[in-house]
Structures are given as C-alpha cells and as structure tokens.
C-alpha cells in the first residue's frame, strides 16, 4: 500500500467547467479517507485525476511521494470502483475478477488462487459463472469491490459504491467496507455525497464544495468545530441552523450576541475557547447552532421569541422547526431546526421562546463564511 496526495490540484474541463479549484488532499499509507460533498462538487474528478483518467490542468498527483502526473492509469497501479460498477458485461464474474490479473500477466495458477480467495472473502463463490446482468445490485457491488481487491493495488479509489443500493444494504455494506479496509490495511479514498455515510465510515473526512476542500478533519471535529458555514450546513442531520446577530458586551463585560432583538449571553467559557470573538465585538456575526444546541421554553420565558412551524416525531426524538422573526439575514425571519426528546410540547402555530446552549455555538464571519477562530483556508 502507498500514500496518496493531491497538491494544488486544478481541473478545468474543455468547455469551461472548473471541477477542481485548488485541492490539497493527503492520504496516509493505510488510511481510509472519506471525501464527501454535494453532487457536482468535483469528487469523481478528484478520483479520476488520482487514477490517471484525467490530466490535471495544474497541480500534482503523488503516490508514495512520487509525482505520477505523467504515468498512464495502468502504471499507477491503483484500483477504482466506479459508481456504475463498470463490470464487463460479456464476461462471467470469474473473468471479471481475473481480468486485471490477466492484463498484468499473472500466471494462471496464481490467478485462480487469488480469485478463489477473493470469492470466498466476498461470498461470491456461487456467482462465479454468472454474468453481471444476472446479479442483484448488491452482488454487482461486491464483484466490483472484488475486482479491485484481487489485484492487490497500491490504493483503492471508491466512487459512491453504495449509492445504488437500498438503505438497509447500504448500512450493512458500510460496516463491511470499513472492516475490509482495516483488515487489508488498505489506503482508500472513499467518495460519497451522504454525510451520514461519511461520518460513520471515516476516521478523517474531507468535505468538498465547488471544487475546493472546505475542511478535512475527524467526524467529531467537523461536527463540533465546522470551519465554515458550508460545513456547518452540510454536516449533521438535521444540519446546524444559521442565525444573524450582532456581537456586543454586556454590563459585566461578558460577550453577548443580539439575535432577533434578544441579547443572548455567550457564557464565560466562550471567549476562552474562541479568542477571535473579542476582536469582532460591534460587528455582525453568523451564529451556527447545531440541532442539539437549542432549548425550548414555552411562552413568555427568556429566549428568542418564535413560532412552531412543524414538529416531526422520529421515534425516540422530535425535530421541531421554529420560525424566529428577525434572526435571519437583513432582519428577515429564520427557520431553525432543533432536536428534542419525544415528550417535547410543540404544537404548530404555538408561540415559543428559543434559548441557545452557549457551549454549542459556532461563530462565522458574515462576509467570508469562515469560522471566526480559524485561520483562513486558502
């Protein structure tokens, strides 16, 4: 196995689409890196650039520290699992599995041994004589994985391999891929558009948007300290709500934020945790509130006044959508979503007061969208 890196990677497709706008991504030997982002943000392009199927407009691709920009895909010796699986329709499962070995001139006995081993590992033994069209979606997915693994490549590139499966199978396969990756000690870049999948699978997750990596961090750090408003809005189900406020000082000199006309004290710990806040006093702020950063106080009690818009009971918990007057951009209303226990009293149309949990708040610059207490990301 090997380490992988994209350094300052740019890709402009003929016709103008800029799929990568300066991507830096380093994957250590044996690491599972998850690349997540909305559709069209450049994830597939990034994988194809590593595989050698696209030439970068600018920047370099490194495998094990060596610049492989001039190498053909075959010479890079990485394996890619395509979103469509791209199984060879005219070949049986066995021949699909052995194709890469035959292409690389592996001797027949060794080939057969490895194909049998992989078939056992992925429970494909019964299917070896079938053709792709005779397989279910889950079986095709396993064949595609097997075709990658059997070659014992230097790294695996997986492009949304579970997106064509039903929800139950998807959850099951997530776990299997993580186990497999650990067992093989494989370097893997795993692409998905599903942030839940990303958070559950990755030790490190790179969040991508519009051709840039916004943040590359552990799942916990992405959730607790999002680097910008995009990450805050992308990670978490439901994602964080964004409110507009003005940062000021209370009578005792403690920081407070005025949101929807109500002063919310940020608590004693806020300044210690986020030194940059002090410099922003007097200016506008975007406040990120994760779903568990709200407390509901029915009628009159202290908090930002609002109206319940919707209450969704999801088994053990309830998601409450509340419309807060004057808390959005330019004094518009903002709808926030909070997560509460199942017993919460929230009836659509009722007035409520929403309190914020100071420790759970994030602060962003309204111009750049970057978190206040983070160095700017290039």
């Amino acid at each position: 196995m090997a380490s992988l890196a994209l350094i300052g990677a740019r890709k402009a497709y003929p016709g103008g689409a800029e799929a990568l706008r300066g991507v830096d991504l380093a994957v250590a030997d044996g690491e599972l890196m998850v690349l997540v982002g909305p559709s069209g943000c450049g994830k597939t392009t990034a994988l194809r650039a590593i595989a050698g199927l696209e030439r970068l407009t600018d920047g370099t691709v490194e495998i094990d520290g060596e610049d492989v920009g001039a190498l053909e895909p075959a010479a890079r010796d990485v394996a890619m699992v395509f979103q469509s699986y791209a199984l060879y329709p005219s070949m049986t499962v066995a021949r699909n599995l052995s194709f890469g070995l035959r292409a690389r001139g592996v001797a027949r006995a060794e080939r057969d041994r490895r194909v049998r081993e992989i078939a056992r590992l992925l429970e494909l033994e019964e299917l070896l004589d079938r053709r792709p069209r005779q397989l279910s979606g889950g079986q095709r997915q396993r064949v595609a994985m097997g075709r990658a693994i059997v070659r014992e490549p230097r790294a695996f590139l997986m492009d949304e391999p579970l997106s064509n499966l039903d929800a139950r199978l998807r959850v099951q396969m997530r776990g299997e891929i993580v186990r497999l990756q650990a067992r093989l000690g494989a370097t893997m870049v795993y692409v998905t558009h599903d942030q839940v999948e990303a958070l559950t699978m990755g030790r490190r997750v790179a969040v991508m948007d519009a051709g840039r990596i916004r943040q590359c961090d552990t799942p916990a750090a992405l959730y607790e300290r999002p680097a910008d408003t995009f990450v805050a809005r992308f990670i978490g189900s439901p994602p964080a709500s964004l409110l507009r406020g003005r940062l000021g000082e209370g009578r005792d000199g403690e920081l407070e934020c005025v949101i929807g006309g109500v002063a919310v004290a940020l608590g004693a710990g806020a300044e210690a945790a986020r030194p940059a806040l002090r410099a922003a006093v007097g200016g506008e702020l975007v406040v990120g509130v994760p779903a568990d950063g709200f407390a509901l106080a029915p009628g009159g009690a202290a908090g930002i006044p609002g109206t319940v818009a919707l209450a969704e009971l999801l088994g053990a918990e309830t998601l409450v959508h509340v419309e807060l007057a004057g808390a959005g951009e330019g004094g518009a209303a903002a709808t926030v979503v909070g997560r509460f226990g199942r017993g919460v009293a929230a009836v659509p149309g009722d007035p409520v007061a929403v309190a914020l949990v100071p420790d759970r708040l994030d602060y962003f610059d309204p111009e750049t969208g970057l978190a206040l207490d983070r160095p700017a990301v290039a």
Partner: protein
C-alpha cells in the same frame, strides 16, 4: 362481470390500457389495418412470385404473362442453368467474393471504429468525416483507375483483385456503422479496463468486440449482400471465365447466349442468386435488426 373488477384491498386500480373499441367499429378498423399491410406485402412479393412460377415453366410454353403456377412444372431450367451454363462455379465464385470481402471489411472496420471512439488524436473528427464522405463516391467513378491499378499490380483475373476492391468500397460504410454502435458503449468500461492495466488491444478484443457482436453481424451481412449483388467490380476485375460470378453470369445470360431471351431460364438463374440472401436474412434477421436499431447494450 363488471369492468374494472372490484379490488379487494380497496386500492384504486391503475387506469386500464387504452384498447381498440370493441364491436363492429373495432373489427372494421382491424380489417383496414391488416388489409393495408397485406396489400403492401403483396406489392413487394409479386415480382418474387412471378419470378418463382416462371422459373418452373417450360420455355416453349411460356407466353410471358403467367400469374398462376403451371400445371406441369419442371426443374429443367434449374438443371440447365446449374450444370450447363456453369452457375455451379459462379455460385462458388460469388460466395468467395462476398464472404471474403465482407470479412475483410468488417474486421478492418472494427479496428478503425474502435480507434475512432477510444483514441484521442488531432484531426480525429475530420478524418472520420472524410472516411464517411467517401461513402458518397459511386464505384463507377473509381473503376477505371482501380482497373489500371490492378493491372499494374498484375492482379487482374486473380482472386485478390475483386475481393480487395470490394472490401475497400465497403469499408467506409462498415466503419460508419460500427462507429455509430461503439460510440454508445459506456466509456467507463474501457476506463475500468485501463485502470486494471489492460492494453488497447485487450480492451478491443475482450470488451469492445464481444459487446459489438450484433453490430458486427449486421455489418458483415449487409456487406456480404452488397458484394454478392455487385456487378461492376467482378465484371471488370474478374474477367476470366473461371472467375465469373452469378451477377456477371446473369447479366450475360439471355440475349447474348440464347439469341432470343429465354425468360424461364433467366428466372431460374435469378432464383438461385437470390436464395442464399433470403436464407441468410431469415437466419440473421433478429441480429441485424438489433444491430441497426440498438445504440448500445447495457
């Protein structure tokens, strides 16, 4: 029975598919439709029918306007054409010309079509357009230089001359047809193969060719039929008696040999020349239609 039947679960039935209204109006419509198709088929088949029944007439009895089969059919015309007029050898010559020209054209075109779809090189579009444009050049335009060329090469009246010329004339069409098909094959298959380490040659042989089978069958068959029916090339390049093809033989049959035209004899010859095409098409019809209609295979 009521329609729609009451469904036990109370879920609404999907709307029934539109059908032809029942009753005499529907019946009349069906008759009209079928009548039209039958008439069309009759128009197409009439010449074949006339040809067939004429070929079984005796020359002496034939008055030139037979619409009903004769009561005393004879195989004599077939026997004469086949054994005495040398149609047996001509049949073999036609088969050799048609099958080898089609095989060569299909094989070369498969490689060219793969190159045009999978290789990126400067001027690719222009080159393809140029190749396709040559389809518009009729054979009659090139026959004289072609004949001079073959004479210079000392190939006239030898097997390769007509075969190569025919294959060359078929090539643009064959490239066009196969390219149209291969273009639609999902490029991820070839990219996956590239990442897997497969050479272009292996991609061509193990992925493109098996997937293009319907198109290859179509190309081969259409080319073979064209070469089988061609008169000009073998007439000019295969002038030797032992290289006469069926089409050349048919053209020479009749006025030049018998003085007065022996129509039943001619019809027997034509029937022999059409028979293999009919058989080939009947056997391969599904593959051909699939190749012509389908863009790609998933």
């Amino acid at each position: 029975m009521s329609w729609p039947p009451d469904s036990a679960g109370g879920t609404p039935e999907p709307p029934a598919p539109r059908r032809r209204p029942h009753g005499w109006r529907g019946a009349l419509g069906a008759v009209a439709d079928h009548g039209f198709l039958i008439a069309l088929a009759a128009v197409c088949l009439l010449p074949l029918y006339v040809m067939l029944i004429a070929s079984f007439e005796r020359a002496a009895d034939f008055d030139g306007a037979a619409l009903l089969p004769t009561l005393s059919p004879t195989f004599e015309n077939y026997r004469t054409v086949w054994t005495e007029l040398g149609f047996d050898r001509m049949f073999v010559n036609s088969a050799v010309l048609s099958l080898s020209a089609a095989a060569i054209a299909t094989a070369l075109a498969a490689g060219a079509a793969f190159g045009f779809t999978r290789l990126r090189f400067a001027g690719r579009g222009l080159l393809l357009a140029g190749v396709v444009a040559t389809m518009a050049i009729p054979a009659i335009v090139v026959i004289v230089p072609l004949s001079v060329l073959m004479t210079d090469l000392g190939l006239v009246d030898r097997l390769p001359s007509a075969i190569l010329a025919e294959a060359g004339l078929l090539l643009p069409f064959a490239i066009f047809l196969l390219h149209t098909y291969m273009r639609e094959l999902p490029s991820e298959l070839f990219e996956a193969a590239e990442v897997d380490g497969a050479s272009r040659w292996r991609q061509f042989r193990e992925i493109a060719l098996p997937l293009a089978r319907p198109a290859l069958a179509t190309t081969f068959l259409v080319s073979a039929i064209y070469a089988w029916n061609d008169l000009l090339i073998p007439l000019v390049l295969w002038q030797a008696e032992q290289l006469t093809t069926l089409m050349v033989g048919l053209a020479l049959l009749g006025p030049s040999r018998a003085g007065t035209q022996n129509v039943p004899l001619l019809m027997a010859g034509v029937t022999i020349s059409i028979l293999p095409l009919a058989v080939a098409f009947a056997v391969a019809r599904r593959a051909v239609v699939r190749g012509l209609v389908e863009g790609g295979e998933r």
